[in-house]
Symmetry: C2
Subunit: 246 residues, 2 copies
Amino acid sequence: MRIKMIIAYDGTDFNGYQIQPDARTVQQELEVALSKLHKGANIKVSASGRTDARVHAKGQVIHFDTPLSIPMAKWPKALNAVLAKDVRVLEASEAPESFHARFDACGKEYRYVIDRSRVQDVFLRNYAYHYPYPLNMEAMKMASRHLLGTHDFTAFCSTKTEVEDRVRTIESIEFTEEGDKLTMSIRGSGFLYNMVRIIMGTLLNAGTGMTQPGEISDMIFSRDRTKTGKTAPGHGLYLYKVFYDN
Amino acid sequence: MRIKMIIAYDGTDFNGYQIQPDARTVQQELEVALSKLHKGANIKVSASGRTDARVHAKGQVIHFDTPLSIPMAKWPKALNAVLAKDVRVLEASEAPESFHARFDACGKEYRYVIDRSRVQDVFLRNYAYHYPYPLNMEAMKMASRHLLGTHDFTAFCSTKTEVEDRVRTIESIEFTEEGDKLTMSIRGSGFLYNMVRIIMGTLLNAGTGMTQPGEISDMIFSRDRTKTGKTAPGHGLYLYKVFYDN
């Protein structure tokens, strides 16, 4: 039986999602926990995509196959009992044998949180990017509008990006403020390596006036990573939701 | 010159406020940092009161004396530069030589945060008490009203409490809900050892129906710690504000 799960994790103590030697990763944590439930058998977990070191997830989606006949409603509790406290299974459901967490994903929402307080909020130090500089929110919103739609986002992804096709569609970018906490919610068809963090860094430049909103279109057109802003740090980023057609 | 500071700390990695051998404490962190600014000289720090292991502070108040002539506006930055990231100085001001962070405090506000989500919120695991059981909020509020005013709170403090006079005044107890996050704000003249945590544990019993709101007055009258609820865990508690007359 194929099982689909929605999971959350605090990325602080993980070296990212994907398994690698000699580093604690979310995938390894999941596979070790599943192995315990399967009498030591290896269970391969597939996720909707990787997340980098210190990046968090509130709605990562994974799938795996199991011969066990645990009632579906008991799966979250069973797996949470053997998982470390910084990874939690929120929901489990049976999926068709053809379901794939990565290939079937038709969209994603990420959130990026900025702590604008003068002195860094101790409780947000691992959960938001401390950026105590004045920001012109209107300029950031104007700049963000130029990113909407379907574009080649080569200028907005890491130069290490391996995929050839860098055309992606951004459906929405929204900002919400709550005290000194500024959150960008970005939704799109899919995101390239470091894309959300580079967009955030570039929009912060628009907020400080270093970049004019109208320059965003030229940046996209340039397909040149050196024209865009810094990659904002991983610990402000959250994989918030993964969308599927069904 | 005597300096008063408002500080915040994440209690997760501290064994409480007060210095003790072979354990990381907030006071030690502050005194080591101040020593660095004072060419190795010992600077004794006094706080409004202790906090226990894993208890947080958003508005702890401390004072110390210094011969340095750093401009007051630069003190937070100077000290934050040598402090660990989980303690931050929020404000500094010059205080009269007679000011004492503990003896001059005329009231305090604590907050206690409860995570009511079915599956523990990974981001609150060190910052809220996970309590996924149904709660009758009206019963909790009714019970809390019996605690208001001036009472002998012997039944609501640790049996290890050393002070003789256990009469304290609770001015207000308020509950706010935000999604699955329930916050109790409690303000009073002063609080005995574990008092807020025992009040929280007792009000949770009122919420589940284990205790009837009307029983609270009998509990107070009994002066018997065995009549009241469990001490709620430290990691849900925040010292929020300390009040002074001036």
